[in-house]
């Protein structure tokens, strides 16, 4: 099942699943729909047995923000850190915003899994 929800409803939706003790958070997937579309999607996939539920949160590319789920799923930190550094989605209220996978000297504002990322962009930013 795939539900599209607004960022503001995310914590309540995930909280309701946890309160009902339904399944667990399997993964947070970032999806860049490209500069032309102008949106990113953040997919929160939950699994309960064979059933899968995805909460799909569309956010604008130039102001990508989602709330942290740490208040309802304490172990979510790694997934949120990965989402932040790879897609440039700001996760508001996440306990540790440090990089998880990328090097410390990776330039700010360069998000490798966005569609317009290029090695030229990376090299240019790294030189500055």
């Amino acid at each position: 099942m795939d539900l599209v929800i607004a960022p503001g409803d995310l914590v309540a939706a995930a909280g309701a699943l946890m309160d009902a003790r339904w399944g667990y958070l399997v993964a947070i997937t970032g999806l860049d729909l490209g500069p032309d579309d102008g949106r990113l999607e953040v997919l929160y996939t939950f699994a309960g047995g064979a059933a899968l539920l995805t909460l799909r949160v569309p956010v604008p590319r130039d102001d990508a923000k989602v709330p942290s789920l740490v208040s309802v799923i304490p172990s979510v930190s790694f997934y949120e850190r990965e989402l932040m550094e790879m897609f440039g989605v700001t996760v508001e209220g996440t306990p540790n915003p440090d990089k998880l996978f990328l090097p410390e000297d990776w330039p700010d504002g360069v998000y490798p899994l966005r569609k317009d990322f290029s090695m030229e962009q990376l090299n240019r930013q790294a030189e500055e």
């Binding site: 993964a27 699994a47 047995g49 899968l52 172990s75 790694f78 440090d98 990089k99 996978f101």
Partner: protein, 389 residues
Amino acid sequence: MATEKFVIPIGPQHPALKEPGHFEFDVDGEVVKGASVRLGYVHRGIEKGAETRNYVQAAYLVERICGICSHVHATAFSLGVERLAGVEAPPRAQAIRQIVAELERIHSHMLWVGVAAHEAGFDTLFMYSWRDRETVMNLLEGITGNRVNYSANVLGGVKCDIGPEQAEMIRTGLAFLEERTQHYLEVVSTDAMFLRRTRGIGIMTRDDAERLGVVGPTARASGVPRDVRVDSPYLLYHEHPVELVTEEAGDLEARFKVRVRELFESYRVIRELLDALPEGDLTTRIPRRIKPAETISRVEAPRGELFYFIKSNGTDTAERVKVRTPTLPNMASVVVTSVGHQLADVPMILAGIDPCFSCNDRMTVVRRDGDKEVWTWEQLRQYGIECYR
């Protein structure tokens, strides 16, 4: 005293083990008070790489995400792409995929038993389990031609068959391994010295395990009945199921027992599959271009649930491939379970989740007053052994 609190960075490099990672443990005297993790030292940008390669090339790429559980990555990817393309691999191919997947689990668990025993200073068990593991490596080589990165999968099926001769070879190998596994089970549940390093150490309660979202044997050792092979059967797991193996204790001993007991299930299901190997083709045709869609594919890797999300866009190349490996959620548990334990237990707790990446060449003991002493992982391991002598 607060001034005696150390921050101990461990990692990132360790040439003898598999992969690097970096931990920082806050210790108060001997006791771990907090921990943090930094990963990415072997981040190769494979998700991005998969967006610029066609499905056939990407299948080879994802098989190389892991050198231990390579087959399971290729299986998850193939199952996802096949579902997007609306085709299904022939039954014989699915059976062979499942046989190779279970052989891979056997080799992975035996490797882990050896590594974990080594971290505890029990090198006899390490030597024996790795010697015996050669049997399963030879079986894999006999089937696929490769010891690792077997490349048994192609999109739409498998590229290697299992004939009567190979089936016999597998049965003989399994008979030997089963006997040895019985011995390992006895050792890990009765050896008094070994139990001092595992019983009651690194306890994760069922509530904690569920809260942390851990997967695989790490979850099952805490009594969480979670196994994709059982919960959401793929390949031929609905016709030839495996039984869920759980333990209640949630400590390191339980993690040993779960993995060793799972080996018996793998032996049984492989024999069952060999007896009932379906006749027919090994591959089915799969279109080169795949219409736009999304799919999720989950399989049970040796370390737990492996998650693939694949989005197609009408071309021969994926729009997005997302991989969530089982070590990521399990790693979060190390940060929690090591708190309150002796520093000497850290190597075992870390090894207990069977991290698909490993630790550390060098560890620096940083005193708050600025004194520095550099330890190697070997020294930390030795320290753990001495502490329990």
